[in-house]
């Protein structure tokens, strides 16, 4: 064996060893998108206890924004959707242990989560804001001057509102969400600081006093969660969401489940 051939053999062996090593260290490199297309089924984690994103309807079938989104993505991929009910505590663990391919479970983004999983582009608006009645011209915190706003004591939006509200605005703090909502519906307060999902429920139950968004306090939209190192799947999901946003599908979901159009900056 001459020197050149020996060197080549060494290189090949090293390369092989490297490849084996790499695949052992990164089993997730396997292309989940290809697997989904092969199996003709995508497993998606959805909530069942978080209306209007996911709950069990009167017909005992899951329904909600997340359910519609999951079915939409499966349809766009041309595969069957297998919905896996999860809770907010175990949804990321389901993804990490490969029990599901995607998490569509009103998942918000934060740095801790970004270390362990990847996020798509946002697919649903999720925010807290100040709501009031139609046509009072309030568009920012300064507009609350001299007005009374109800909020749930200790909630994020209450703490933020306490900082934002002008000095001569009154914040009435209630014990829980129900009391805050009751105060608004009964007319004890004309403004409430609450989440868009709560406002959607109020709009449905109390059409005569429909809460309308005045300004956003804290915005944390929902993202589809997926395992790291799945570039093909991530690109595909992003493409589907972008298309859904462009063709009005997301706007329709928003009207159906959140009783409001998509926010302008979404």
């Amino acid at each position: 064996m001459n020197m050149v051939m020996r060197a080549a053999a060494k290189c090949t062996a090293l390369a092989l060893a490297g490849a084996v090593f790499a695949s052992a260290a990164l089993p997730a490199q396997a292309d989940t998108l290809a697997e989904i297309e092969k199996a003709k089924v995508i497993r998606i984690a959805v909530p069942q206890d978080f209306a209007p994103f996911g709950s069990v309807g009167p017909d005992l079938q899951p329904r909600g924004y997340d359910i519609d989104m999951a079915n939409y993505i499966a349809k766009q991929l041309g595969v069957k959707a297998q919905l896996v009910p999860v809770t907010s505590a175990n949804r990321i663990a389901y993804l990490q242990t490969h029990k599901v391919d995607l998490v569509i479970s009103s998942l918000g983004k934060n740095p801790e989560r970004e270390k362990v999983i990847d996020f798509s582009v946002p697919y649903a608006p999720f925010f807290s804001g100040v709501y009031g009645l139609n046509g009072d011209g309030v568009t920012a915190a300064a507009g609350l001057s001299g007005k009374t706003v109800g909020a749930t004591r200790g909630a994020i939006e209450e703490q933020e509102l306490t900082k934002l509200a002008p000095a001569d605005a009154t914040v009435k703090r209630f014990e829980d969400n129900n009391a805050t909502v009751s105060a608004f519906i009964s007319g004890q307060v004309d403004y409430i600081a609450t989440g868009n999902t709560v406002a959607a429920t109020v709009a449905e139950k109390s059409p005569s006093r429909k809460p309308e968004l005045k300004f956003v306090i804290k915005d944390s939209p929902c993202y589809v969660g997926l395992n790291k190192d799945e570039p093909a799947l991530l690109a595909k999901v992003n493409e589907i969401i972008t298309k859904a946003k462009a063709d009005g599908t997301l706007a329709k979901f928003s009207e159906t489940w959140l009783k409001a159009p998509l926010p302008a900056n979404f």
Partner: protein, 220 residues
């Protein structure tokens, strides 16, 4: 295990506690005066008043004494606006307390009135006093004197019960405690301070009532 106690975290909120304390004191004093007036009127209606007034009072007393205070409060604050009666949380709290104390004190004062010997009433009648004059001059004072300890207890109970008004966002002592707790999460320290303040309030209220009792009923 208990975490390290730290009452220092409460110091920045002393003014919240102070405002809550003042609110509870003012609410208790005003609603006690109005509630006792209502109770006296109710007791009169049930013993000396016309039949219809007695019947109405009886229904009122039974409804209030047999329903929870918090439900009465929620009805006034969240329920009445549906009938077009919109009250602020402070006024709603005051009215709920007055109505509540009024019902209980009606029964307490009525018991005192019925304990006044019949002979005293007949003595008044034989002096040509009207029913109102008999009630005013012969019946009321000895009746109140007899039931004064029971009335005092009821007033303290109503004061402690006022903690519930925090549920409709009235900013009393309990509201202050809940508010501070939602900010610094020092539940143990916050509520032990609140409990201590209520204890002081109750002791102070009893002393005040004893003093008033001694002044009103010198022999009792």
């Amino acid at each position: 295990m208990i975490q390290q106690l730290n009452f220092g975290d409460l110091l920045p909120y002393w003014d919240v506690f102070a405002r809550g304390l003042v609110f509870t004191i003012v609410l208790t004093l005003t609603s006690t005066v109005a509630g006792l007036a209502l109770g006296t009127a109710g007791a009169w209606a049930r013993t000396f008043g016309p039949k219809w007034a007695g019947a109405v009072t009886r229904v009122y007393v039974e409804i209030i004494r047999n329903t929870p205070f918090i439900v009465q409060l929620f009805f006034i604050f969240f329920g009445l606006p549906a009938l077009g009666v919109k009250l602020s949380e402070d006024v709603a709290a005051f009215i709920a307390m007055v109505i509540n104390l009024g019902a209980y004190s009606t029964e307490i004062i009525r018991a005192g009135i019925e304990a006044v010997p019949k002979g005293h009433l007949e003595a008044g009648a034989s002096l040509a006093m009207s029913r109102w004059e008999i009630f005013r001059h012969i019946v009321l004072k000895p009746a109140l004197m007899k039931v004064y300890p029971a009335l005092s207890s009821q007033i303290v109970i109503v004061m402690l019960g006022s903690a519930v008004v925090s549920q409709i966002s009235a900013e009393d002592l309990t509201y202050a405690a809940n508010y501070i707790q939602s900010r610094n999460f020092r539940a143990f320290e916050v509520y032990i301070v609140a409990a201590f303040l209520y204890l002081l309030l109750a002791i102070g209220l009893r002393a005040l009532l004893r003093g008033i009792g001694r002044a009103m009923f010198p022999k009792g």
